[in-house]
Amino acid sequence: MTSNRMILAGLLTSAAMAIVAAAPAFAQDGPIKIGVLEDQSGDFAAATTVKVHAIQLAAKEINDAGGIDGRPVELVVYDTQSDNRRYQEFMRRVLQSDQVDVVFAGFSSASREAYRPIVNQFDGLAFYNNQYEGGVCDNNMIVTGAVPEQQFSTLIPWMMEEYGPNVYTLAADYNFGQISAEWVRQIVEENGGTMVGEEFIPLGVSQFGQTIQNIQATEADFVVTLLVGAAQASYYEQAASANISLPMASSVNVGQGYEHKRFTPPSLANMYVTTNYIEEIDTPASKDFVERFHAMFPDEPYINQEAANSYIAMNLYKQLVERAGTTDHDAVRAVLAEGDVCFEGPSGNVCLDPKSQHMSHTIYLAKVNDDHSISFPKVWEDIKPYWLGDAGCDLTKNDPSAQYTPSSPPPAQ
């Protein structure tokens, strides 16, 4: 009796699951639902609220122009509160009960790694629109943020040529800082430079007196700062007041947290950052973007690179679905595999790479001046996310759903 009931229950469950699985096929003519999981409160809110606004701007523009393939876009927005557990909870909710076609999610690498297994489990499709330490080779993820080979292979050689070969790295002591520092080390060695120092700072440390002396005791020509979080940001003020006159190079500042607007000049003076977009970029496309953004959100404090990436991602998704003729993930990926999915956006022309599902970028070298205004001494166009593809990740052939680093690359095929 009991076992019969269990079989019956099992049959009912699988029937229900079949109906759920078939449901998107019937929904073809309704709105296209896009899940948006971004931090609108908590530690990261200053840098990420603008991403939600960028997605809302893109959705409005797409709907005003007739939607995606004639279907309107509907956003399902949840505030993930800078909390990794919220990401997991809301990722389940958008994929299971809201039945969205695609998700735009995540700021920190920790949050991405928290939700990625869930996207894999339900075979969803997620756009990660953030610069990060690189290496995610996963069929269910499309990454529009810049990665180390794009930010460091431009920044570090330029700095070495301009200021000298001796490099001191100061990095936050967790996966982002450790992996980014590994990239810096490798690029410095490839270019014949020397690492005169490398120090990993535990998250939450706010007193840098000894670190500042350590830097002064070396022959460093410039300092690579990969510091993360509000506590570690105290470094700049303390270094400036101790009069360390060394230039700084970074992949994280200015482009995300607009520190040059928030800190008192000249604490960030002489910092060089490679970013794929910030609102100061002086091209007609960028100015037009800033104008449209402020028309919809007049009080936006700063339009950062993640806002531009989110906006670009919406438009890339529109193109993918229109060319595929459906929101079905395999069909969308087949279009991506053709290798010519590009978009002329606020940051210039960008294209998706079929092997890694990452994006090429125009990389701008932003220099913070003494009064914290920004100038751009150098622009590199069409910098490709080459590392994953070269290292052996090819999502058109197989899907390892893994994250790789230079010291643990994909296994040889």
Partner: protein, 290 residues
């Protein structure tokens, strides 16, 4: 000359860490060390002082005045909190943990909602001074002087003033003090307010060197508790030598092995001290001199 330079560098590092420990733990030493209230909202009093200081300084007030007004506001807030909440928990130390933790969460989230996730700070004043190949922030030398001044001021207050005698009497033997006509409730309130004001002073003094965020108090709290626990119940025989010893350990380890080991060294010291000297340094020093 090179010897002088490296000795100066070591002294500067030691003084810098010592100043940070003394200034950030002074308020906690009064509230936790003397009164026995485990105050997890210590960091938020610091944040309060820092925010008031930065706002006042940016509104045009001279920085020393702004710092004092930060301490004053934190002290007043402390007295209000004592009257409304802390007063009911003097004989329930474990419950006071929950109550002050709640206050800390409310303060952090409240500031986040009302003032946003970040606030523009005030730059570090005074510039820098060159000693040999290295340059040092002058303001941090001022902080070292402030730490010594703070210890001196508290010593005079607690041992050579009427308020100090009454406060120590009230905290050591409340019934006796009450019988002698002391308004113990008022003395408790004032002492807690003094602790909160000292925390606010710490926030004000460090505001020009840090990023202003609602969670900034959290970066002080580990160091303050470590110093007070190692020091024991008395500020002068306890917290001051504890700060000196911890500064030596932390500055030394940070110089040789980096920030991570500095932190580890600090925490290992506390574990050893709690194990070997349960009364802290002050308990041990008083025990041997008796």
């Amino acid at each position: 000359m090179a010897l002088f330079q490296s000795i100066f560098a070591m002294l500067y590092q030691f003084g810098d860490t010592f100043a940070f420990l003394v200034i950030s733990c002074a308020g906690l030493a009064v509230i936790f060390g003397m009164m026995g209230v485990i105050n997890l909202a210590h960091g938020e009093f610091i944040m309060c002082g820092a925010y008031v200081t930065a706002s006042a300084a940016r509104a045009g007030m001279p920085l020393p005045m702004a710092i004092l007004s930060g301490a004053l506001v934190a002290g007043i807030v402390g007295m209000i909190v004592e009257r409304l909440v802390i007063r009911h928990f003097y004989h329930r130390p474990l419950d006071s943990i929950i109550a002050t933790w709640g206050i800390s969460l409310i303060a952090t989230q409240g500031v986040l909602i009302v003032l946003g996730s970040t606030m523009q700070g005030v730059g570090t004043p005074l510039g820098s001074v060159e000693v040999g190949i290295r340059s040092y922030s002058l303001y941090r030398l001022v902080l070292m002087a402030c730490a010594l001044g703070l210890l001196g001021g508290l010593y005079i207050l607690f041992y050579h003033s009427r308020f100090g005698v009454i406060a120590r009497a009230t905290i050591q033997k409340p019934q006796m003090a009450l019988a002698l006509g002391v308004d113990t409730g008022r003395v408790y309130g004032l002492t807690f307010g003094l602790g909160a004001a000292l925390a606010g002073l710490a926030g004000g003094l460090y505001a020009p060197t840090m990023t202003m965020v609602p969670t900034m108090g959290a970066t002080f709290i580990v160091e303050s508790f470590v110093t007070v626990v190692v020091g024991g119940a008395d500020i002068f025989v306890g917290a001051a030598p504890a700060a000196a010893i911890l500064a030596l350990i932390k500055a030394g380890l940070t110089a040789w092995y980096g920030q991570l080991f500095g932190q580890i060294g600090l925490l290992i010291t506390v574990i050893l001290v709690i194990r070997i000297l349960p009364g802290g340094l002050s308990g041990w020093i008083k025990g041997t001199t008796r």
